[in-house]
């Protein structure tokens, strides 16, 4: 019993790190994704091309590779050391997820009929007003489902930070495994399942809340 309690507490601590990476990534990647989405729809061709190329590279290479590059890159290329591991992991996550989110945003924005924007224009609204007052909620309505998929994937992707030795829940379980205990590894699954279950409920609630918008 005491082992169970001890392991639970250890895993909980590891899971704290998992949550930390999850929430910080989400908080930064959601707005950054919107900025990237605007960049990829920019009327200036060079801007659009550069942004789309970046998105292509980020989405086309493994997140694990990106984490490694962000952490070791600066020291190998510029000889700068002492880069914080967790910070590196978060930077990689934010860039990666912002790019994925940006594509979802772009799809959402572009699927709002042009007539909506034009109605706003004719009513003398500014571009910013049209985006926030007309397009935004319709976009949100359309992206809840793909966003929830992506966000649930993020929960599980956090386990990748171990490649640069940031200690999260699975790494904790692995430490016990080396001491001969196999069950903590399975036990980590419970944490993930509970967390993802909670998120699923949250998204279902959001979808329900958005039911009033019919498109």
């Amino acid at each position: 019993m005491t082992t169970f309690l001890k392991i639970t507490l250890e895993l909980l601590e590891g899971f704290g790190k998992t949550c930390e990476i999850f929430f910080v990534t989400l908080a930064l990647a959601l707005p950054l994704g919107l900025v990237i989405a605007f960049g990829s729809m920019c009327r200036l061709r060079p801007v659009r091309a550069v942004v789309r190329a970046i998105v292509w590279v980020v989405r086309g290479t493994p997140l694990m590779l990106q984490i490694i590059v962000v952490f070791y890159g600066p020291s190998l290329i510029f000889g700068v050391y002492g880069f914080d591991r967790e910070l590196a992991a978060i930077v990689a996550f934010v860039i990666n997820y912002a790019c994925y989110f940006s594509e979802i945003y772009r799809g959402g924005i572009q699927s709002v009929p042009v007539g909506q924007r034009e109605a706003g224009q004719v009513l003398g609204m500014s571009k910013t007003q049209i985006f926030f007052r007309v397009t935004f909620m319709q976009m949100i309505k359309r992206i809840v489902a793909p966003m929830s998929n992506e966000i649930i994937t993020l929960v599980k992707d956090t386990s990748l930070v171990r490649v640069i030795s940031v200690v999260e829940i699975i790494m904790v379980a692995e430490t016990s495994m080396r001491k001969g205990l196999i069950w903590p590894l399975f036990y980590t699954g419970v944490f993930y399942l509970l967390f993802v279950g909670l998120l699923t409920l949250l998204f279902r609630y959001a979808e329900k809340k958005l039911e009033y918008i019919k498109i």
Partner: protein, 283 residues
Amino acid sequence: MEYYHVEGFRKRFSETEVLKGIGFDLPKGKIMAIIGASGSGKTTLLRCLNFLEKPDEGKIYIDGALLFDAKARYSERELREKRLRSGLVFQSFNLFPHYRALKNISLAPELLARRHIRAYRKEQLEASRGEPFFARRKQVRRRTRAYAKELKETNRERAESLLAEVGLADKRDSYPHELSGGQQQRIAIARALALSPDVLCFDEPTSALDPELTAEVLGVIRRLKGQTMIIVTHEMSFAREVADYVLFMADGVVEEAGTPEEIFLHPKSEKTKAFLKCREENS
């Protein structure tokens, strides 16, 4: 030159020239119907008149003053200002699906009011210059708040009276999808009227509607007395009944224009005759 004067509108989409020099005059408070075959450029003309499309050439005068010249360069802000002078009711309504009927109507005036509020605040700050800092701030804030509240109230009342005008006072809290097509178009008309445009344009306002819903929308338009209007329509009988002037467009030019009697009873152009004959056979 009449109240609303349009001259020399040209618009080319890559290969094809859609508008080939269109102009007309419309006195204040009068209604002009634009008729013409599909593809003759009617929608493009209305879109140019509302600056959704940039014409290659053309000028608009309102009340004798030049409002727009295609040759000039206008900033986004100036164009927005100019758009407020005219309104456009779309074929497909384009109501905002996430707002209730009342909000659909009051949204644009509310956003516009913000500008008035900012200007008012600035004015108040100017006027109270020299008074003690904190007292002055406090007073300006209080006055601005009162002014904002007043504007909000006025906007709401106006939106409600417009709802009543289009006969939908009881639908103020309905979302667009809860309304019939005819009701949606009536809300769209109220929404366009809320900004009190000098000229209100309609692009085939009833062509997306079933025949039984067409009547209620036309009824609403008929009752807008005193509003200068340009109505692109396929409803010949309606054009004949409400319009003061009729303009027949063909291939991007004004083929013939005149009073309803002139166009419908004594058309001069062969194209007009053919078009009207074809219409008659269809209906």
